[in-house]
């Protein structure tokens, strides 16, 4: 299993541009998550999904959108990028069992200039 994969690894955007961060997991996990991590800080939850077709907001959803059309994929869309969205973005997944064990991808480092 590849686990959780994210693309791209790095990206530089100009203010106002849009992009989609891709996340795919091959573990057949129901739950998927998007976090952002600013320098020297912990992770903040942006959006999550409990299964295909079901998504909900996390702590910091403004400026982002998500969709979950399949179990495997959970893309994160940035519309009208702003410098405040400069961060490292992590995708994670979890099987539908109790407990908090999440499996994280390698992250996408995004810079908005």
């Amino acid at each position: 299993n590849a686990g959780v994969t994210q693309t791209p690894k790095f990206r530089i955007l100009k203010i106002g541009q849009s992009m989609t961060l891709q996340c795919t997991q091959d573990m057949n996990h129901n739950y998927m998550y998007w976090y952002r991590q600013d320098p020297g800080m912990g992770l903040k939850l942006i959006y999550y999904s409990v299964g295909a077709g079901i998504t909900d907001k996390g702590e910091v959803p403004n400026g982002y959108n998500v969709s979950r059309s399949t179990t495997e994929d959970f893309p994160l869309r940035l519309e009208l990028a702003a410098p405040s969205q400069t961060s490292v973005y992590f995708c994670a997944s979890r099987p539908g069992t109790s407990g908090n064990e999440q499996f994280f991808g390698p992250g996408t480092r995004l810079t908005v200039l």
């Binding site: 979890r94 069992t97 407990g99 064990e101």
Partner: protein, 113 residues
């Protein structure tokens, strides 16, 4: 959500046992306690999880007192490769409900030769 408090940083010499304590005074009955490890430029990695008493796996032990208002992650005989940020999370996720477990700033452990 249960708020967690842990030391911002700790130093330890190689070969020593390291104990990192996390306070979670308002932990709920159904909450689990989970610890993650994060190396620079990587996503967090699950270390250990527990509900009460003591849990041990191949890399760490987790001690939880009877009142569950705190927990201690114990790393035996640390090496330089254990230098990382350690996060304590408290929350509950099940297959039928949503979750908003958040990561705090974590404890930055520096292992010294």
């Amino acid at each position: 959500l249960a708020k967690t408090t842990q030391p911002i940083s700790m130093d330890s010499y190689e070969g020593q046992e390291v104990n990192i304590t996390c306070s979670h005074n308002n932990i709920a009955t159904n909450d689990y306690i989970t610890w993650y490890q994060q190396f620079p430029s990587q996503g967090p990695r699950f270390i250990i999880q527990g509900y009460k008493t003591k849990v041990t796996n191949e890399v760490a032990s987790l001690f939880i007192p009877a009142d569950r208002k705190s927990s201690t992650l114990s790393l035996p005989r640390v090496s330089l490769s254990d230098t990382a940020v350690y996060y304590c999370l408290v929350g509950y996720m099940n297959s039928g409900g949503y979750q908003k477990v958040t990561f705090g700033i974590g404890t930055k452990l520096q292992v010294i030769p």
